[in-house]
């Protein structure tokens, strides 16, 4: 392959590949890759500096070109024939182009990376607004303070837990290596003990939950319930002891067998999930954010109910049709509604008038084509919009 070909072939092996560089365990700033990255950032920034100095009548053509090139990538990917072999290799009429078009992940990564960066900038602007309000002690400064506090709590626990799971994964990988050659040491023993305890705890909690459920349903009396709890606790102690004995024997023989390795694996996971940062992350995410999310979405049920009462009026044919369909669908979704017509034998002629049959028929033969037509209308709209954007006709984008 000639020099130019090398430059374009992004999948060439390292050494001959212009685009990829090796990374070693040395400090980052002593490696060429780091300086290439810094150089690229500086170079691009300088380029943008000069871009900001171009006369204003060049601005629109620049943006239109950028937009067109980005869109053209996907069009080329779609139109140029190519075939990916089961080995992952791409066969295209022009191999170099084929390689670049097979870089589809790169294109979608680009979109996601830029979108994420813009998202972060958006959060920075939220910060600016509320931090300013807090500093100047303007109206509602207290609420702004609460907002910033919860934002930073989430960011702190999110990142701390992220790095803690990363180091957990490293430990797990090391354990896998140790398990493959069977060498046991004190470190794995400690993890295996934690794992044994965690396993026993999960078992105990499951028994306790089951007993509680049965007790609340009246299947168990109070004394039976308490007996089960005591029994679960006794099993818990004995399971921990059994696990410890297993670990001790592995330690004395120096052999890391698969059973102890499984315990250690559980221990590594349990230790991470019991750490302060993991608990904090679970608290702010699962027990606060998701709870708030669910509560907020469920508010809409109330608003729809009150809107239906106030505004859902049978004044026109359209409204009547809409309400009648909604009613049939609603009835078909609750057993009490279905019970109204469940006397009609399905598979016979009257069976066609069961609520579930009517609802299925409406969904399959009236709703389906209507949705398809809506989709087609939308798709044509998207297509037209896409063309307008690519040709630079969409003024909101270019001006």
């Amino acid at each position: 392959m000639n020099q130019f070909g090398k430059l374009l072939a992004q999948d060439a092996p390292p050494g001959t590949n212009f685009w990829a560089m090796e990374r070693t365990a040395d400090p980052l700033f002593s490696q060429p890759i780091f300086w290439w990255v810094v150089g690229t950032i500086v170079f691009t920034s300088i380029l943008f500096f000069f871009l900001s100095r171009v006369p204003s009548n060049f601005r629109k053509p620049i943006i239109v070109t950028v937009v067109f090139l980005c869109g053209f990538y996907y069009i080329a990917e779609w139109l140029i024939p190519k075939h990916r072999l089961p080995t992952g290799e791409v066969v295209a009429p022009v191999p170099i182009i084929g390689n670049w078009l097979a870089g589809l992940p790169a294109a979608s990564s680009t979109a996601q990376i830029i979108a994420s960066m813009l998202l972060v900038l958006g959060v920075i602007s939220i910060f600016r607004v509320h931090f300013g309000r807090l500093l100047k002690a303007q109206k509602d400064w207290f609420f702004s303070g609460i907002l910033l506090l919860s934002m930073f709590t989430m960011i702190f626990f999110g990142f701390a837990n992220f790095s803690s799971t990363k180091s957990r994964d490293v430990t797990l990988a090391e354990l896998n290596i140790a398990a493959s050659d069977g060498s046991m040491n004190q470190r794995w023993a400690d993890f295996a003990r934690i794992g044994g305890e965690a396993q026993a705890l999960t078992n105990r909690q499951n028994v306790e939950q089951d007993a509680f459920r049965r007790f609340r349903k009246g299947e168990l009396t109070k004394s039976e319930y308490e007996a089960r709890l005591a029994e679960a606790r006794a099993t818990y102690e004995s399971e921990i002891q059994a696990a410890n004995e297993q670990v001790d024997s592995a330690l004395s023989s120096g052999q890391l067998d698969s059973g102890v390795a499984a315990l250690a694996r559980g221990g590594i996971r349990a230790q991470q999930s019991r750490s302060f940062v993991a608990q904090g992350q679970r608290f702010v995410f699962t027990d606060m954010l998701q709870v708030l999310d669910a509560a907020t979405f469920s508010l809409i049920a109330f608003f729809i109910l009150s809107a239906a009462f106030r505004a859902f009026r049978i004044r026109s044919i359209e409204a009547t049709i809409l309400m009648f369909t909604a009613l049939i669908i609603l009835l078909s979704f609750v057993p009490l509604g279905l019970a109204l017509t469940s006397g009609l034998e399905s598979g016979t002629f009257p069976g066609n008038f069961r609520i579930d049959s009517i609802s299925d028929w409406i969904l399959a033969y009236l709703n389906t084509p209507a949705i398809r037509a809506i989709n087609l209308g939308l798709a044509l709209g998207y297509l037209a919009m896409g063309m307008r954007i690519l040709m630079g006709l969409e003024r909101g984008v270019t001006e």
Partner: protein
């Protein structure tokens, strides 16, 4: 006359209170009703029930606790069925938090009696989170081993005979978002596609069931209840197995909430007609 006018001017908060009381009462002391299983769920159940011990399926779970009401009971019912059939599971997600939620629920179900003590890597693998739905589906369809290579699952018994997506018996999605659309576009009929979705997404997915692209479809809490009913029919005689769960529990409150909605609309209309009639005659 005055009654109708008062009804029209009813404070919305009274309506809210009635809804809360009805739902609260039904949550604490639910009323039972017999179920009529929908054909869509029946098809879904039958296609999974036809699988044999040792078959492998891909389960993509894209819901989090914000749609717990519908999705959790669907997911748990599916897991119970797969585990009792000893069908092996490759668990994936395109939502970063959903994979954790799915893992917790799977482990919880695995410990129930009758579910064969499903064990990580022996009976199921966690393929984990994939950030880009488009590339993930493309990769799964074209080269499943390469797509899962970085997830450390290839050496497990689950993946033993899986060289291509067509070696899996089905791809089953439990989702609260439009994550199935990429599968419609990219599946290339390599294997069956099945869906558990929230009710709000059903209208847009039924066309794909009608066209045969989906082998079965369970919709919302009713779909979960249908699935639970079918499980109960099949496994109800065996001791200790949990078949009926949240799907059924939520049917009572749902029925009363919907009844309230219907009553509200009907009375709203009657009141309007009556007030207008009174207004024109006087």
């Amino acid at each position: 006359m005055k009654v109708w006018q008062a009804l029209l001017n009813l404070d919305r908060r009274i309506l809210y209170l009635i809804l809360m009381l009805l739902v609260g009462w039904q949550i604490v002391a639910p009323i039972d009703a017999d179920n009529v299983v929908s054909a869509k769920t029946q098809d879904l159940f039958a296609s999974i029930d036809a699988m044999k011990e040792g078959d492998v399926v891909v389960v993509q779970s894209d819901w989090t606790n914000s749609t717990r009401g519908e999705s959790r009971s669907q997911f748990q019912a599916l897991m119970r069925h797969l585990m009792r059939k000893r069908v092996k599971i490759i668990l994936t997600s395109i939502d970063p938090q959903a994979i954790e939620v799915a893992r917790v629920n799977l482990e919880e179900v695995a410990k129930e009696p009758g579910n064969n003590n499903y064990e990580l890597n022996r009976d199921y693998v966690i393929g984990g989170y994939f950030p880009d739905a488009y590339n993930y589906v493309f990769g799964m369809v074209n080269n499943i081993r390469k797509e899962l290579a970085a997830k450390g699952v290839l050496g497990t018994p689950v993946m033993e005979n899986i060289n291509d997506l067509s070696d899996c018996k089905a791809v089953i999605l439990v989702t609260a978002s439009a994550s199935i659309n990429v599968w419609y576009q990219r599946m290339r009929s390599k294997t069956d596609l099945a869906l558990f979705c929230t009710a709000v997404m059903s209208a847009e997915n039924i066309p794909y069931y009608a066209s045969g692209q989906l082998v079965g479809l369970a919709i919302g809490a009713k779909g979960a209840f249908d699935y639970e009913t079918l499980l109960e029919e099949k496994y109800g005689s065996q001791d200790g197995m949990i078949n009926i769960a949240a799907g059924k529990r939520y049917m009572g409150p749902l029925a009363f909430a919907l009844m309230l909605l219907i009553v509200a609309v009907v009375f709203g209309n009657i009141a309007m007609v009556m007030v207008r009639k009174g207004g024109s005659s006087s």
